[in-house]
Structure formats: C-alpha cells, structure tokens
Symmetry: C2
Subunit: 291 residues, 2 copies
C-alpha cells in the first residue's frame, strides 16, 4: 500500500521500518526532520509536513506523544487532513484522549476520511519485533481493509468497539497496571519489613489467585529496589492522566489509579521519572521507611 | 505417622480425609462433635478434646477459623499443649496473626514441642484434591520431618522463613489479591461505562503487563455483576484484618488494601458477605452508578 507515517520516535521509527520491510511504499515525516534519515536510507520518501506526507497515501499512520500532538499533525495548518483524499484511512496509534479521538474522527469523516484509533502495548521491543498488541476502535470493514498493514506491526489486533474504544482499552490497561503494581508493592513491602524469604514467597504466590505479570516479572525489581526500563514512570503518568479524564467524563471513580497517579507525581519530582513504572514500589517502600 | 487433626470445617474435613487415605493413623476432634462422624466412618479415632486427641500424636494439625480459636485449641484448658509429648510437632494451617503465632510457638517450645505455621491457598477444592499451596514458617529440619504428611495435602510446600513467616506470606497473598481485584474492577467499570466490547478488551489485555489470575478468571464475574463462590468476601475481610494488624506492627502503610477492606465492610453490611471476593467489583461499579 501507499502509506504515510508521521512520528518517528522510540515507537514510530521501528514501526515505520517494519512497514517498509513488509514491502509497503512509505513516506515519512517527523517534526525533528533528522529522524527521517534512517528511514530514507532504507528507501522511504521524506515529506516536509504531515499534509505533504499524506498527499499520495491510502493509509496514514500517526504515532506521536500526546493529544495536542495528534491534533497538530492531523488537523493543524499543515496537518494530514489537508493532504488526505476521500476514501483514505487515518490510523492513530498514539495513546491519547478517547474524547479527542472522537472529535478528530468527526472532522475527518466530513472530508470522507475514515479513522481508526489503534493504541498499542508491548513497548519499543514489541515495536521492533512486530509483536505489539493493538487495540482498535472503529468500523470492522475499515479494519479489514488496513489489517494487512497492521499485521506487520502486531501479533494481536483486537477490535474493541467504535471509534475511541481503542483508547478506552488502553486507558483500562494503564489503570489495571497502576493498581496491580500498587498491590504487589504493598505485599512485597510487608514481606521486606517482616524479613521473610521473599523470593520463595513470590514463587509460592505467583501460581495462585495473587498471580500476575507484575508479580512474576517485576517483584524482583521491588525486592532489590532497582527499576531498570521497561516503561518510564513519566509516560505511565501521562497515560493515567488520560485515563483519569476519560473516567471523569464517564462518571467512574478510580481511586486506586488516582492514588498511584499521586505516587508517580512524587517519584518524578524526586528524580525517578525515567525509571521503570515498577518504581511505584519505591514510593510504597519509602512510605514504610524502607529505602 | 500418629496424627491428630483438630478442626473439621470446610477445609479441615477434606484435609483430614486425605491424611487417612495416605495411610496415617488419625485421631480427630471438632468443637461440634458431630463433624467427627464422617472421619470416624473412614477409620479415624475420635477424641473429646484437643488435649485428648494430641495425647498419642507425633504430629498435631490445627485448622480452625481465627486467632482466638487457635489459642483455644492449642493453649486453652483442654488445649493440645496439655496432651503433646516433648519432641512432637504442631502444625497450624489456619490463617491467623503472625505475632500470635510466634507467641504460641514460644509457649510450645518451653515444653519441647516444635511448631510450624502453614497456612494454605487453593480453597476447599484444593483441600479435596491435595493441591493446596502451603506456605511454611519454622525450622527446615522440622519441616523435613513432617513433609511426608504435608505432601498428602499440597502440591507446593514452600519454606518462607522462621516461625510466623507462613502467616506473613498468607497476609501478603491477601493484600495482593485485594489490590489486584480493585485494579481490575476499576478497569472493567471504566470499560462498562464507555460501552466497549469488554470481553474482547479483556482478551487483548490478559496477555500483557495488565495480565493476572484475577483478570483472566474473574473479570467475567465483574462484567456480568454476578459473583458465585469462590472465596467468601467475609473470609477475605477477616484475612485482611490480620494483614492490616501485621502491617501496622511492622510500620508498613498498605492504603490500597485498607481501601478494599472498607469496600468489603460495606459489601457485608449490604448482604453480600457470602459472595465471592470478586464482588469487590460490585462496590466499584456501584460507586459509578452501574448497578
């Protein structure tokens, strides 16, 4: 397919590379233009703006940092909307507000452009290996048309509802992760204070009802109080902010996620924003005087 | 071995049955004496008191409801301590206070009696099938002596530290379960309010960093707002009370577990104490007006 890819950061660059390697014709654009060069070296065309990148594309991907960035690259003065043809499709893979997603889609549809929201989990490693989990909101027939391109990027592609539903699912993901980290951190801190053999306890607990990816994969970080990346605290906080706003609009109280958000605010202030999100345990440990 | 088993409730009765079936000579006692009859029919001797049951036993199991019950059947006027010989071993498999466990062990050791604390997870089904997870506190050489008996009851037997450590591990288990349920309940409630395809979202999330036993096994309950047993809310609340006291003694704040404890207080007041602990989601849903 003729594809435009806008946003060549930690996630976008390896994703665009995979699309090229899958044989698609790719035009790339990035605000910091230098980041286009490695893709150009692999055969991608470069464009000076999102609108220019989108001009010949059947399919436009956006993978940028936050809600205002998506608004800018899609609807801004040089936004993709000004280049896209009627009948083309925009897939936003950023993690942004579900409500803003619906607003953007409404503006696109007036020009005959379809939109899917398709945020991902699986991190930069999943982006490189094409093993992302992709949560898609939008129409099934639109997804069917673009699925071959998405299959270059992810191993599970799940349609979860109408436009915006992918972002809701990503918000749910971050809310569940927040609470699960807090739960495991409280348990581990209790065990550290009691002086039990925590590695043995972790193994005994992991196969039962307390079991989770967090307990199996990240309790070791908590025991050692070392939090190598992983997924940065400051990015999780950004995503929790989106989840909090979405939850508020829907009238859903999420007190545990709200508590974790506050822990993360403190972690960032104290210089831990670039640690892995398992550093939530750092805050829980510190509250018990275990430093 | 010559074994006494005290406490023939939902957990104790199937456990005692398995010990009999494994070929041990068993004497049983239960406060409500009628519960001894099915075991007697299988070949167990009956005793009128814990002391009498313990009189010829190398090994005494206790499996009763709460801390005061263990104190009563071990240290009370007719307690096992008055029948046990020097060199015999008491294994308490109840879920009780770690601090009380250490106090009881201290009194036993004055009579030359060893103690292990060995609370379990896996429920009545695990008790029937001998697949419990057993978290053991105490001395390794004592565990080695009694391990053959424990192997009739559980598939994983993990030594987690000195006396009381099994109870700490069980407390950690309940704290982690509390927070994980709250986390998944917040996520599911957000999805319900947004009207997305939650079964699809659950599947997409379960294999990633948000994955847990709770998400895989119990999110369906939350979506349907039906909470069949399982493990009762009122029993989890009892265990969280033990965890809260242990955490307080150790100076460890556990705010998420404390919040879930309060949700459970409300659930019991409203008549949901005998639902499965996944009913934590009932409270989270209700707070969002989703009934």
């Amino acid at each position: 397919m003729n594809i435009a890819f806008i946003g060549l950061g930690t996630m976008g660059a390896p994703m665009a590379t995979r699309l090229l390697q899958a044989g698609h014709r790719l035009t790339v654009h990035n605000r910091t233009r230098g980041r286009e060069e490695p893709l150009a070296a692999l055969g991608a065309a470069r464009a000076a703006s999102p609108a220019e990148a989108a001009a010949k594309a059947e399919l436009v991907f956006t993978m940028v940092s936050d809600t205002p960035d998506v608004r800018q690259v899609v609807l801004g003065e040089q936004g993709a909307i000004h280049g896209m043809a009627s009948g083309s499709v925009l897939i936003d893979m950023s993690t942004i507000s579900p409500a803003a997603t619906r607003e953007i889609a409404a503006q696109l549809v007036e020009r005959g452009i379809e939109m899917l929201d398709a945020p991902v989990s699986g991190g930069s490693e999943g982006a490189k290996q094409g093993t992302l989990s992709i949560m898609v909101g939008g129409q099934a027939e639109v997804l069917a048309r673009v699925r071959p391109a998405l299959e270059a990027l992810g191993k599970t592609i799940t349609l979860v509802g109408p436009i915006g539903s992918g972002q809701v699912t990503k918000a749910i993901n971050q809310v569940i992760i927040a609470g699960t980290y807090a739960a495991v951190a409280e348990g581990m801190t209790l065990g550290l204070a009691a002086g039990i053999d925590l590695e043995a306890a972790q193994q005994a607990l992991a196969s039962g009802a307390a079991g989770s990816w967090v307990l199996t994969q990240r309790a070791g970080n908590m025991i050692q109080n070392r939090y190598p990346l992983g997924f940065r605290v400051r990015l999780h906080l950004k995503d929790l902010g989106i989840a909090r706003e979405a939850a508020r609009e829907l009238g859903v109280p999420i007190p545990v996620a709200g508590y974790v958000e506050q822990l993360e605010v403190g972690l960032i202030k104290r210089g831990y924003g670039d640690e892995d999100v398992s550093a939530i345990a750092r805050a829980v440990r510190e509250a018990a005087g275990l430093t």
